[in-house]
Symmetry: C2
Subunit: 164 residues, 2 copies
């Protein structure tokens, strides 16, 4: 009856070059490097994480990584996870990896993916005392409010939609 919320482990992966072709993004060495880094990572990565991993092999600029991640987000290739420390982490958003919850340590910043929530698991989380030392749960839905919908320039269609 009591289902445990387990940690998520990816087994299958997508191909970086293939993904870039499908989304009609220029196949630059930087984009391939960022995408390969995310694909081969078992945990979501921050911009600094990505920079450190890539810098051992090729030169890449911090701003470029930010811009690449923004374009990937727009195409739905990656998801952004905002943590309690104000740092964004990024993870692949393919059919192998549906939306799920995360646990983030407020001391070391460590971030782990949790398996997608079922209704009964959600129930567990909201009613039962946990044996983990979680002291804060954030559920935030982001989007466009009614007021802004009217004011908005009619050019933004690509950068909205990110629920795999």
């Amino acid at each position: 009856m009591i289902e445990k919320l387990t940690m998520k482990t990816n087994t299958e992966h997508c191909d970086a070059r293939e993904t870039l072709e499908k989304t009609s993004l220029y196949k630059t060495p930087q984009r391939i490097a960022v995408l390969d880094t995310l694909i081969s990572s078992s945990v979501p990565l921050s911009v600094n994480d990505i920079l450190k991993k890539i810098c051992t092999q090729q030169k890449i600029n911090k701003v470029t990584v930010y811009r690449i991640l923004t374009s990937f987000k727009g195409k739905g290739i990656v998801r952004e996870i905002e943590t309690a420390r104000g740092i964004s982490y990024y993870e692949i958003s393919c059919h192998h990896n549906p939306v799920h919850a995360h646990f983030s340590c407020r001391h070391c910043g460590m971030l782990v993916c949790l398996d997608p929530l079922t209704v009964s698991q959600t129930w567990e989380w909201f009613t039962r005392p946990r044996n983990f030392t979680i002291d804060h749960i954030t559920i935030t839905m982001t989007g466009t409010c009614h007021q802004c919908e009217g004011t908005l320039n009619c050019n933004s269609t690509a950068d909205v939609v990110n629920n795999t």
Copy 2:
């Protein structure tokens, strides 16, 4: 059968001075001002929001507001809500105001409180297409990981616990 997720509206309020006495915090004009501001607000406020509201009546420093909010968080008087724009918002955490989800507009930053989720409402959110333009749902649980629990100095007991 289909329950709608409605907006939360507070009616009852707690007393600022009383709250400070109960939590054995020095009753300074600054603390009273910050607490009064949060108590009388129907929406969560950022540090800048709080500063602007208070500055019309008394002088207060930005750093002081940050430190006051940190102490309030430690005592469980307020909750912090991190938004997709990297700005924290704060709301009263008393028995009149249990933990709930939030909606945040990624364009204007507007933040509204939503009524606490029931199981069927959670089910709605995760399975059904919404008629609101939400493009991102963040669920993050923050706390202390197993590794850090060991490394942690045995002095921090006050600043953990924040689930009303």
